[in-house]
């Protein structure tokens, strides 16, 4: 066991994968000598060589397009998109190609690959270094979408994603890269995809959130669920948690309309409405582009989450 940051756990997972599986390659913009703009790939090229960890030309479309070809021909690509905000030139390759290849070929060709990308606000990054675009990809059958919120999960989920036979988008909450620390086992272990984690057990309100642990102390017992894998989602865990308290708040940084929080709300409405004591409340970003100067008001911080919890608790 070692005490690590979340980004340290990502780095450790990549090293573990490169060590164990000669078909694993790590590549993207600035991931080689520099070790990535956040240093997620720090030291990998020095340890494993430039054939295993390397820089690419500046084209997200090319990074993901070539990764698909590598995956189709026996390699295990782990591609980095420097910021999730820059992923859209590769949207076509992800949505039209990687996600649909198994289906359209009747299972003859597959693209087992991982796309790592930092996402989310909290670093004063403005419109193009802060977005939470998970909903675009969760609307794409064939993709798996994973978001860790602890160092232990980051390593275990990333190793599970690399071992997975399907394409996985691995979204890393950049605000938590160095904000959380935790015990991480040495060597290989996995956290099973499509399983949730109960962050906190409680009886009064269920908070379904994709980010980290948060405070809610006003005499209300809060049950916090970290979804970990957004697609395919362990829906039954959401439904069970909703039934337990009868009150649900969903928290995401993304804009509200057509967002993931709405999907959770719909699942609860369809499968547990008879247990509900209050409407499901979404706490999200605004339906605006991501701001810069006012980002701390845009983000669903503790004030807004606690207000929502009180609202459903007192309904």
């Amino acid at each position: 066991m070692a005490n690590m940051t979340l980004i340290g756990a990502v780095n450790d997972a990549l090293k573990t994968a490169l060590r164990e599986d000669p078909s694993v390659l790590v590549f993207g913009e600035d991931v080689g000598k520099k070790g990535g703009v956040f240093l997620a790939t720090d030291g990998l090229q020095a340890e494993f060589g430039a054939d295993r960890c390397f820089d690419t030309p500046l084209s997200e479309d090319g990074i993901i397009g070539t990764a698909i070809g590598m995956a189709m021909n026996g390699l295990k690509p782990v591609a980095e998109i420097q910021f999730q905000d820059f992923i859209f030139p590769a949207f076509d390759q992800i949505v039209s190609e990687a996600a649909k290849l198994r289906y359209r070929s009747g299972g003859q060709y597959t693209a087992p690959m991982v796309i790592r990308t930092p996402y989310g606000g909290g670093i004063r990054g403005g419109l193009y270094h802060s977005q939470s675009g998970e909903a675009y990809f969760c609307h794409t059958p064939g993709m798996k979408v994973v978001i860790p919120s602890t160092p232990y999960d980051a390593k275990g989920l990333l190793l599970a994603a690399i071992a997975d036979p399907d394409p996985v988008l691995f979204m890393e909450p950049k605000a938590l890269y160095r904000a959380v620390k935790g015990e991480v086992p040495e060597g290989h272990y996995t956290v099973e995809l499509s399983t949730t984690r109960n962050v906190r057990e409680g009886d009064d309100v269920t908070v379904v959130e994709k980010a980290a642990d948060m405070a809610a102390e006003k005499g209300i017992s809060v049950h916090v669920v970290d979804l970990r894998t957004l697609l395919p989602l362990d829906e039954s865990a959401v439904v069970e948690a909703a039934k337990k308290t009868g009150r649900v708040v969903t928290v995401t940084e993304a804009p509200r309309f057509c967002g993931y929080a709405g999907e959770i709300s719909a699942i609860v409405a369809e499968r547990a409405i008879e247990y509900m004591e209050a409407p499901v409340v979404r706490v999200t970003g605004f339906d605006t582009p991501f701001p810069n100067t006012l980002e701390h008001h845009y983000l669903p911080d503790a004030r807004r989450v606690i207000d929502a919890i009180e609202k459903v608790a007192n309904f």
Partner: protein, 374 residues
């Protein structure tokens, strides 16, 4: 580095006489085989168009007039090499080993189709000879071929990746990123630009400001050559050289193959709306099959009139297979949710099970359509 390679643009003149001594080293039997492949492409195409007009298949992207560009360039590939299809390379797949039954099953999108009827017609695949299907999105296969070529290099596989696309696709993101990445990585691939003059209704000179299409390679730093795409042997010879370069570790190159799309973009397209029929007539005189036939007859490899017999023979073979595919069993309904992931996940099982209850209530379920275990 860019270099305009010294590769003959023409080896056989339009009248069928050899333009020079440097013909590919092919035996009479091999030359004859190539002819049969050309004829097969045309016969299959014509039969498919008839089926489309009869409402039996949905859509046909004819290769009429482009047969030599396809058979000639794919001819020197080994079956272990990969052919990344851009659109009209189904005939090359047939030559390389795609069974006629699978070709026609794909046109019917029936339950015998190896892709399980998931794509519309004219999206062939053949895993056995490394031929993935194109997706319909133009140019996306270009970086796939480059990535797969990098995999071949890293894993020490003796493979060359031939990446096909059209003049329209040369404007796509995939072309730009694919050419760039390939040149930087020096991977074993050949970019085969089938310049047939048209991207649906947009002429090739509206795709780019360059006049010499081989100039495109200069920006990325790789060599290029251009051939007359209606001269089967020129296509074969040029491709043989470029494949050898790639196989020897000398990196990627671009081959511009100039031909002409005689028919519409597809059976759903009426080209008379946007192009001058006089231009089509000029190209009709340059028919690639006639040209190669004249060459073979001139050399005594094919007897005068023997082509007609070959056509009849292939037509019978194709018609027999059409009858078989007309009678394919019904597509199993579970195919709706299979192959999205390696295993059918719980939410898709639930969605299917809800659907199959409705189907059963309407008395339409058949054995094998039943619910998934949850």
């Amino acid at each position: 580095m860019f270099e305009l390679l010294d590769i003959p643009r023409v080896l056989v003149d339009p009248d069928g006489t050899a333009a020079g001594p440097d013909l590919p080293a092919l035996s009479d039997e091999e030359l004859r085989e190539l002819y049969v492949h050309l004829v097969r492409v045309r016969v299959v195409d014509e039969r498919m168009l008839k089926l489309q007009r009869a409402g039996r298949v949905g859509f046909v992207g004819s290769t009429f007039g482009q047969e030599a560009s396809m058979i000639g360039t794919a001819g020197p590939l080994r079956s272990t090499d990969w052919l990344w299809s851009g659109l009209r390379e189904g005939g090359a797949a047939l030559m390389r080993g795609l069974p006629l039954s699978e070709y026609i099953a794909q046109m019917y999108c029936n339950s015998n189709d190896t892709a399980k009827g998931r794509q519309m017609c004219n999206h062939f695949q053949h895993k056995g000879t490394n031929y993935p299907s194109w997706s319909s999105v133009i140019g996306t296969q270009i970086p796939h071929g480059v990535g797969a070529a990098l995999a071949a290099k890293r894993l020490g596989k003796d493979e060359v990746h031939a990446i096909y696309f059209g003049d329209g696709a040369s404007s796509s993101n995939g072309f730009h990123s694919g050419m760039g990445f390939a040149a930087v990585w020096k991977v074993p691939c050949v970019f085969v630009l089938i310049h047939n003059g048209w991207a649906i209704s947009v002429p090739a000179d509206e795709q780019t400001g360059v006049e010499e299409w081989t100039d495109k390679a200069e920006a990325y730093g790789m060599p290029a050559a251009e051939v007359d795409g209606n001269d089967l042997l020129a296509c074969y010879g040029a491709m043989e050289t470029l494949i050898e370069r790639a196989r020897a570790g000398e990196g990627p190159s671009l081959l511009v193959v100039k031909t002409y799309r005689m028919m519409g973009h597809s059976s759903s397209d009426d080209p008379t709306v946007y192009r001058d029929e006089a231009e089509v007539e000029v190209w009709r005189q340059r028919d690639p099959i006639q040209r190669f036939e004249s060459f073979l007859v001139g050399r005594g490899i094919l007897a005068e009139g023997e082509g007609a017999g070959i056509t009849t023979e292939i037509t019978a073979e194709v018609d027999a297979e059409i009858h078989v595919q007309e009678a394919a069993p019904r597509m199993p309904l579970r195919s709706l949710v299979e192959d999205v992931y390696s295993e059918v996940p719980l939410h898709l099982r639930e969605q299917y099970n809800g659907f199959i209850e409705t189907v059963e209530r309407h008395g339409e379920a058949q054995p094998g359509d039943g619910a998934f275990p949850l």
